[in-house]
Amino acid sequence: MSSIGTGYDLSVTTFSPDGRVFQIEYAAKAVDNSGTVIGIKCKDGIVLGVEKLIASKMMLPGSNRRIHSVHRHSGMAVAGLAADGRQIVARTKSEATNYDSVYGEPIPVKELAERVASYVHLCTLYWWLRPFGCGVILGGYDRDGPQLYMVEPSGVSYRYFGAAIGKGRQAAKTEVILLSISIVGFLLAFRPGRLDQCMRILSLCSLGVWGGEIEKLKLTDMTCRQGVIEVAKIIYGVHDEAKDKDFELEMSWVCDESNRQHQKVPDELLEEAKAAAKAALEEMDAD
């Protein structure tokens, strides 16, 4: 999809003749080149996972956190330009604490996602600002249960039950299409003849997932404990040994087990997940 917008791509306040804003699309490319970030919504919570590509062997493991808590009940994983991400996280924290101090309750995840999206979108409206070069996956647990949102550099935000951004999201795009068709077919059984309704249900469910592996998972039955293992397997699976350097897996969750608080996945579970992921990889290589 790379087309040069010659002349129409100099400013974020310029539309091209075919109705595109190239600067925003270029910002999205910055996200596409970063390490994979995945989020899934399980039965009892959210799991976020990041493939943290290590720039230098001298970096201390555990540094350069990509997943941040933005309040007690929610967290955010960032892909793209790290410095831009830091700005978004700071703003999100501020929005969350402000809501809490005004309304006396933790900010509903839907509200938080809207605020983040508005902020990101803001920077696409003025010529003296540039769009954020990062995409964000926001997961939280409020009164309406666990929820997962994704915000792109254009400022759109959708709610997902599984989302992925970064390099590895293309990993199984064909599987997504196949699965979408089969899901529509499934829905048609309940609404015979109403193809339009089925398509609408499908799009409303926002199956805009780019890591097709995610759809193979039966997320509605899965607990976060199991989800952590699956996310680790997916990230290890999509990591390209040949093209990229080493990576560090960073994962967090917010679920009933963590008392609805957003926190790093406990160390023993993380080790268990890594071991399972490596084992799964070896199995695949063995085939």
């Binding site: 956190r65 941040h68 808590s69 933005v70 309040h71 007690r72 924290k93 604490t97 101090s101 926190q263 790093k264």
Partner: protein, 233 residues
Amino acid sequence: MGDPSAETQRTLYPYVTGSSVVALKYKDGILMAADTGGSYGSTLRYKSIERLKPIGKHSLLGASGEISDFQEILRYLDELILYDNMWDDGNSLGPKEVHNYLTRIMYNRRNKFNPLWNSLILGGVKKGQKYLGMVSMIGVNFEDNHVATGLGNHLARPILRDEWHENLTFEEGVQLLEKCMRVLLYRDRSAVNKIQISKITEEGATVFPPFSLKTYWEFSAFKNPTVGAEGSW
């Protein structure tokens, strides 16, 4: 002070106040006691105000004085602890740090002639180290093995000076606190007979449900107080 709108913002006198808080160090941590009353001047208006609150993982805060200012302090501390948690770096604020933060708040407000009208007791345990400190509304702060606020300083501390020792057990500590609270109940007119005790140890904080102290009013001197001096009361 010069700005007329600032005049209406200054704290001039407290409205709803809590009475004394007493606290001591014991073998496993800190024990703290307070009654659950909120007085509106001389009226004992509110009977169920919780004045002992856990702060983060390692501390316990008890306050006497203006209840609304106490609630404001709880909001400041809530934000402090939230930001500390969001770092997610394996470290968490201990009682010494929280005590210092409170001292800064109280002293700076006092310097603006707009104090938070409270006496605060901050106790906690972190990495085996017990800590118990106090901050007054003018920012005076200190640490000790046992502390009290308000009238507790005059009625409870002498008892504690005599009977406190290192390595009190939990039961001994509670007994000692009850003794202090009973004296306060008899002698402090703003005390109510609904006491709450809380403890904090390495494992965490527990605020026990309120209970009432047994009191004895059959002292012969009370029964017929004017027997020696007719006409007096």
